[in-house]
Amino acid sequence: MFDIFYNENFLAFIFIMLKIIGLVVPLLVIVAFLTYAERKVIASVQLRKGPNVVGPFGLLQPLADGLKLFSKETIFPTVSNKIIFLLAPMVAFSLSIAAWAVIPIADGWVISNINVGVLYLFAISSLSVYGIIMAGWASNSKYAFMGALRSAAQMVSYEVSIGLVIVTVLVCVGSLNLSEIVYAQKSVWYVFPLFPMFIVFFISALAETNRAPFDLPEDESSLVGGYFTEYSSMLFAMFFLGEYAAMIMMSGMATILFFGGWLPPFDIAILNQIPGFIWFAGKTSLMLFTFLWVRATFPRFRYDQLMRIGWKVFLPFSLLWVVLTSGFLIIFDLLPSSV
């Protein structure tokens, strides 16, 4: 009966589990410190000091916040739908973690190197809307519901242009595998030939992750706290973690699609000595910094403006670029060779 523990499958299973833990634990730590980074960056932009009391330079602040949230009581509104109320933050959190399964952080450092990696990422990011809708509906509160509706509409709209941006990159690569997308950028990063698409992708990513200036779902001046108005303690923390993990995921995706993933900027020996994941982490951090920078700089959009940009500007524009790019590739016979 205990044979199961000794066969190969079981060992493989243990190995996969270790890999997952090896990815998720650092990820959670990074998420925690991203909140610290956010406060510091915004503080610097606004000429303040930011958190500086807990620990050296306030470095232990995220830990203190976490402890505080952890030790508080979870409050269920009496009219809420308990099960879905409880499930919503779990869905939001686990989906944003699940997306990391296919992201290669260095050459071969990936949990699952599947052929449809890009589609998987796209699917997961389109699923993350469920956490929000569930939260909004289960809270049985006007603010939460309005926030959820806004968020769902916003995410569905911007997914379309993200999809088209991804298609543009795929046309250049000829594969849906994320590692191959990175390899294809050995000679030139796609951010240079496809710069307008990168801008579209970045702005859509802001909307997709409900970040400022598109953070209408949690627009405190009109909706109190948006879809997590009714949430407290750990359940709230899970939404929070999920949101930041999604942000990191989007930055990672931008890095892979446009900045050559783990590849160094120039193919020379010294740069190649630096391990791939450092390049990857560096590029992702730069993207994350831009996320925070945008938040500190821009005022919030109005909802109709948000929708107009999504449908009337980005959608036609990215469609045009798909056509232009493929036309260009066909005319100059640069299409990736097919098997």
Partner: protein
Amino acid sequence: MLPVFFYLFSIIAIFSAIMVITTKNPVHSVFFLILTFFNSTGLFVLMGAEFLAMLLLVVYVGAVAVLFLFVIMMLNIDFSSLRAGMIKNAPLGLLIGAVLLGEIIFSFIGMKYGISEIPGNELFVKLSEIENTRALGNVIYTDYIYLFQCAGLILLVAMIGAIVLTHRRRENVKKQDAVKQTLRDKSDSIEVSKVEIGKGV
């Protein structure tokens, strides 16, 4: 390893499919429907059809089910009255279910005893030989380009039709004209006038 996941996905799929039609709350039904889709995605992956699996996730779960959820959440229909006909319609539903089940059983029996010679078998590409995204792309854009374009036109008509039937032009709606706003100039919007003290404009 494989059978474990197969049974996991299919048992959850069947369970949640049953829950779709038995739960009292329609929103819960939709969530169970999503769970069913999700598990079918898992089954697709096990079969090696990863492209279809992801497509199912993106299209059905990511878009169609969101729409369902929107409609059901916002409509606030009295679902208990819809349920009133349940007892009346149950025999018919059971009958149809039984017929479908019978057909499936018969087709399995047929597969076991020799009727498996389905003509046209040569049409199926061996999945292991080629990545299935590529396999689909190879036929869609060559052999079936005509059909693919026709299908695209059908979707276009569906979109135009939906707009024609639902779009209503309303009077007195103020709309933002972004181009007009950005082209606005100081000279045509501000007037500097010298106001004499004590007189007003």
